[in-house]
Every structure is written in structure tokens, then in C-alpha cells.
């Protein structure tokens, strides 16, 4: 019995040609070819797919498909208390996670209407600028490697390593740092921080000098970068592209200067700009920005307000938490809160002198120093009020948008509060989404090989792009 749904047998049409007979396709009758680049392609920096239509070597049409790394950052932020979003922000731009941390913190602080201490703001500036350098190093290193300059990549990653060691020294981690806190930072800088930074900067400056000699006037590099991937100033603005890519078009827009936040208005720095808006100018802008970031850090280290440090209680007898509690139980509470306390090593950096220096004096948002938590009922209650479900940081109803200058441009956090302990809505404005959206505009009409340097200069970070 014949199956009514059976497919008719496929017929194969063949055509035989013999020498001198038939018609061969003429050169002008070529067909465009469709080629997928990505999603798992070594030059795609993670996972992104560029769907191209090629006429020979030329890109006729391109469509960028993203979403392979979407993790639901915004949805997850709504599900937990305010400070729980901190580890998620690490994973947005994972090359400069500190900037994401602080951007989110500042947005919530804006909602709460609190200001961190001066020392905390200086620390945020210092750590953000170090992150900006690591981000630019990675961007230039990776895109140079894709053009064949493997030495540059190794040199830049070496310099990044020195900077990440400094970051690790302070935050305890290289990448997933979770160092920001609403109202402050997790812990103060370490005593040998400044020496570490200066040493890392010497190394970084050496590397930048070497890379400058290797690349800036290198014929191969210049030929592949200059005039490639250019966007006009109007297009760049219409695509809402910010950061180095906008500055490469000659627009000196930088959030640090346009709407100064933290203590950027007290520091002296220049905003490097390009002219042509092509890949080569983007490279030059990034190279110049690293030097400016180092200048900012050096000034910030010079101006870093003293505040209390551990000098006060160095050498003084310290008691362990159990003894501390025993003393409290015996009613010997006189001066208890002034006694320095030896804390468990994983709480290091959160003792009171550090804590007061880097955190806003606001009990609605900031966990009390550990001496108070362990040593007084008020401190313990304060601590529990901030960590218990349904309590915690509860900004009044309202909304706030806080932009910071991320390594790729304006990184904005838009936070809406409904008065409870968890954000009603968190929106991250990813700085690398606009240039990725403009990718087709940049590569259409150019050669396939030009996709690689252009995509490198976009510095797409999938964690941030797709959240």
C-alpha cells in the first residue's frame, strides 16, 4: 500500500559536457557565496557569528548574530539583594571587571543618595585606571596577534600579568574580583600596593615602548589597519559608539571629563583623539590612553588621602574573637570597640581602621566593621539587618542611571528600586554593543581579511555584550 505522505523519489539532473560542447559559466555570471564566520572561530574572540555574503574576496552583505553567551544578568540581578549582583558584574567585561563593580555600586549609591569617602573614591579611580590599561593591553595584543604579530601579544600579556598581580594583591582574585561594595570597597589597599604599582608601571611603559617600535610604523601593520573599518563621525554618533572608537573620529567625549564622577575632576589628564576613525587611529588612541591612565594613577597615589591605616595598632596586643566575646559576656565592655581585633585571615582588610577609611558612614548600606559585629549587640544587629532576607540595603523608590567610562566606552547602569531589598530592575548599558551593531557598516565593501583587524578594534567582550 502506498504511503500517501511518501516523498516522490528524487531525480538527479545531470548534464554531461564534452570538450568543445555545451556552455560554461562565464566570469561575469558568478554567484555570491554565503560564508559563516564563527560562532566558534579563533578570530571571533569568544562566540559570535558573522554571516557574510561574499563576491570573491569582497564582503557584499554582513549580518552579525549574537546571544551565544547570554546568561540573563539582568534577570538574575532582580532575583537577589543588591550586593548579590556584584559577582555577576565581574563577569560582564571580564577584562576590566573592577570598572563594572564600581559602576554598579555607584548607581545604587546614587539611588541611596550616599557618597563614599574620599579614600574610597581615590581607590576606585586607581583600580579603574589599572583595569583600563589591562583592557587596552588585551585588545591591542589580541588584535595584533590576529595580524600575525605574536610577539606583541606575548609582550602585552606579560605587562598585563604585572598589573593583574597588583590587582590580585588587593582584591584576592585576578578576574572574578567582586571588590566593589555598595558604599565602599571590600578592603583597603595593601601596604606595599604603591611599590607594586610603580614596578608594574615601569614594566608596562617598557612594553608600550617596545610595542610602539614594533607596530606603529610597521609597514604590514599599517597597511592592514589604516583606512580599514572606518566609520564617519556622524555614523559613529548615530550608532551611539563611545569610548576609544568615538575618540578616534576626533570627538573628545569621555565620561570622566563630560560628567566627572568620583574624583576625576581633581586629576589632570588628557583625552587623546584621532582623526580618521579607522582601525589605525583606534590603535593610536588606545596606546595613548594607557599612558594617560598611568598618569592618573600616579597622581591619585600622590593625592591619596591618608586616613587611618594599620600603623595605629601595629605592635599593639591583639585579641582573638573568642576572647573578645568572652570579655563582652563578662560585662567588660569598656573600650571594647576600641580594642583592635585579630580577625580570621579571610576577613583581613575589614578591620575598623580600614573599614572607616573606605566605606561611607551609612548603616543602611554598609556592613559594620567586624569588630562591631563580633563585639557589640548594635553591630551584630546592624550586620543582620543587612544580610537577612527581606532587609538589607533598601533604597527608597526611584530610579537612577549612572554612567562611568568603561574601557570600551560609556558603561551605564540603570537601576530601579521598589523600596525592597532587591533591585526591581537593573539594566547594563554595554559599551561594546553599539560597535558590534555597527560591524556590518564597517566591513561591508571591504575584503574578508579586513574583518579581522576591524573586529579586533571593536574589542567585543561577549560577557558584556550579551550579559
Amino acid at each position: 500500500m502506498a504511503d500517501p505522505e511518501a516523498q516522490p523519489p528524487r531525480t538527479r539532473r545531470t548534464q554531461e559536457f564534452f570538450l568543445g560542447e555545451g556552455t560554461f559559466p562565464q566570469p561575469e555570471a558568478t554567484e555570491n557565496m554565503q560564508v559563516n564566520i564563527g560562532p566558534s572561530h579563533p578570530a571571533m574572540h569568544g562566540v559570535i557569528r558573522i554571516f557574510t555574503e561574499l563576491d570573491g574576496e569582497q564582503v557584499v552583505r554582513a549580518d552579525v548574530e549574537i546571544g551565544y553567551l547570554h546568561r540573563g544578568f539582568e534577570k538574575h540581578c532582580e532575583a537577589g539583594p543588591y550586593n548579590n549582583a556584584m559577582p555577576y558584574t565581574d563577569r560582564l567585561n571580564y577584562v576590566s571587571p573592577l570598572i563594572n563593580n564600581f559602576g554598579y555600586c555607584s548607581a545604587v549609591e546614587k539611588l541611596l543618595d550616599i557618597t563614599p569617602t574620599d579614600r574610597c573614591q581615590y581607590i576606585r579611580v586607581i583600580m579603574s585606571e589599572i583595569s583600563r590599561i589591562t583592557d587596552h593591553l588585551t585588545c591591542i595584543g589580541a588584535s595584533a596577534m590576529e595580524l600575525g604579530a605574536f610577539t606583541v601579544f606575548l609582550y602585552m600579556i606579560k605587562a598585563r600579568e604585572f598589573l593583574w598581580e597588583v590587582i590580585e594583591q588587593v582584591t584576592g582574585a585576578r578576574l572574578t574580583i567582586s571588590y566593589g561594595r555598595v558604599g565602599g570597597v571590600k578592603a583597603d589597599l595593601t601596604p606595599d600596593f604603591e611599590a607594586g604599582v610603580r614596578k608594574a608601571f615601569v614594566e608596562t611603559r617598557t612594553v608600550l615602548g617596545e610595542v610602539d617600535k614594533l607596530l606603529t610604523e610597521n609597514r604590514i601593520f599599517v597597511d592592514r589597519m589604516k583606512g580599514v573599518g572606518a566609520l564617519s563621525r556622524e555614523d559613529t554618533i548615530s550608532y551611539a559608539i563611545t569610548g576609544p572608537m568615538l575618540r578616534a573620529c576626533g570627538v573628545p567625549f569621555d565620561v570622566r571629563r563630560a560628567t566627572p564622577y568620583w574624583v576625576y575632576d581633581r586629576l589632570d589628564f588628557e583625552i587623546p583623539v584621532g582623526e580618521a576613525g579607522d582601525n589605525y587611529d583606534r590603535y593610536l588612541v588606545r596606546m595613548a590612553e594607557m599612558e594617560q591612565s598611568m598618569r592618573i594613577v600616579e597622581q591619585a597615589l600622590r593625592d591619596l588621602p591618608g586616613g587611618p591605616t594599620n600603623v595605629d595598632f601595629e605592635g599593639r596586643p591583639m585579641s582573638a574573637p573568642p576572647e573578645y566575646v568572652d570579655r563582652g559576656k563578662l560585662g567588660k565592655t569598656d573600650g571594647l570597640l576600641l580594642t583592635p581585633l585579630r580577625l580570621s585571615p579571610n576577613l583581613r582588610g575589614q578591620e575598623r581602621p580600614f573599614h572607616d577609611a573606605v566605606n561611607a558612614p551609612d548603616r543602611r548600606a554598609v556592613l559594620p566593621p567586624k569588630e562591631h559585629t563580633y563585639g557589640s549587640i548594635e553591630g551584630l544587629m546592624n550586620h543582620f539587618m543587612l544580610v537577612m532576607d527581606g532587609f538589607g540595603i533598601r533604597p527608597p523608590k526611584g530610579e537612577a542611571y549612572f554612567p562611568v567610562e568603561g574601557a570600551n566606552g560609556e558603561l551605564g547602569f540603570y537601576v530601579v528600586s521598589d523600596g525592597t531589598d532587591r533591585p526591581y530592575r537593573v539594566r547594563c548599558r554595554p559599551p561594546c554593543l553599539p560597535p558590534t551593531a555597527a560591524m556590518p557598516r564597517m566591513i561591508e565593501g571591504s575584503m574578508v581579511a579586513d574583518i579581522v583587524p576591524t573586529f579586533g578594534s571593536v574589542n567585543m567582550i561577549a560577557g558584556e555584550l550579551e550579559r
Binding site: G67, E74, F253, T259, E399, A400, Y401, V416, E466
Partner: protein
């Protein structure tokens, strides 16, 4: 221009179409009636005093579970505008009805609206009328629902879609 002057200029031009104008924590916001959204955005971009040449961000908020807003329109599309030329910012909000979640597309004004609107469609299910290519941006085509809506439970699982045979 400073924030109050921007809001005053919008109110002077559009009158009652600006449903509400307020300042909170230094951010200035104008809430615009759904019908006039595109017109206000165009004015913001083209007016020589405002010159909002950059659509810095476009997102939406689902007010479904917001205490005290149970009666109003469910969604709000939020535009953050910035002027590179004048260095000022404003936030424009356009309320959107739950039954007909449609607003006019701003693709004709700013090129970046294309992707931002695709993301809002993807995450909130708000359609943008006049958008040339309103596909999902972050989720895959077969995904059912819009994840940032407040009635989409966070732990809902969806089957992975295999290759089409």
C-alpha cells in the same frame, strides 16, 4: 542646558503631551504619551537647543509587580538621550499598554535603535512599529516568551532546540 531647562523646553513645545516631568537624584525625566513618543524624540534630536544626537540607551521596565503601580500601563520604554554637542542628558519614558505593546520605532532617528529595539522586543515582547527587521537579539528564534517580563519565572526551563532535519 541644564535638566530643568530641557524639561521646560519640552513642556513648552508639547504641553499636555508630556504627562509628567520630574527630577530624581539629579536625573531629569519626561514621561510622554504613547502616541507622541516618536514626535518628542525627533524634536529632541533636531531642536537646535537640545540636539540629542546620541541615543545612549534604550530599555524597558515591566511595572507588573511594582507596588503602587498596579493600575497604570504595564510597560514603559525608557530612552536615555545624550547630546555630544551640548553635553547634557535627559530620560524619556513612554508608557506601553499590555494588550497592544507597540511603540513607534526610532530606527529612522538613530541607527543604534535597531539593535536596542530588537533586544527590548526579545526581552519584553514590546513591538516597534516601523522596525525593518524585528528579530530576537539575544535569545534564539524558537524561544517561547520574553524573559525580562515579571511574570516569566526565573527558573523556567525550555528544551534546547536541536538542528532542523
Amino acid at each position: 542646558m541644564d535638566g530643568p531647562a530641557i524639561l521646560a523646553r519640552l513642556q513648552e513645545r508639547f504641553g499636555a503631551t508630556i504627562l509628567e516631568a520630574h527630577e530624581h537624584r539629579g536625573d531629569h525625566t519626561a514621561v510622554v504619551g504613547p502616541a507622541a513618543g516618536l514626535e518628542v524624540l525627533r524634536f529632541c534630536r533636531d531642536d537646535p537647543a537640545l540636539r540629542f544626537d546620541m541615543l545612549m540607551d534604550l530599555t524597558a521596565v515591566d511595572w507588573l509587580k511594582y507596588p503602587g503601580r498596579e493600575d497604570g500601563l504595564r510597560f514603559e520604554v525608557v530612552y536615555h538621550l545624550y547630546s555630544v554637542a551640548e553635553n547634557h542628558r535627559v530620560r524619556i519614558k513612554v508608557p506601553v499598554d499590555e494588550d497592544t505593546p507597540v511603540v513607534a520605532s526610532a530606527v529612522g532617528l538613530w541607527a543604534i535603535a535597531n539593535w536596542f529595539e530588537r533586544e527590548v522586543w526579545d526581552m519584553f515582547g514590546i513591538r516597534f512599529e516601523g522596525h525593518p527587521d524585528l528579530r530576537r537579539l539575544l535569545m534564539y528564534e524558537e524561544f517561547v516568551g520574553h524573559p525580562l517580563r515579571k511574570d516569566y519565572v526565573i527558573n523556567r526551563r525550555q528544551p534546547l532546540i536541536g538542528p532542523k532535519n
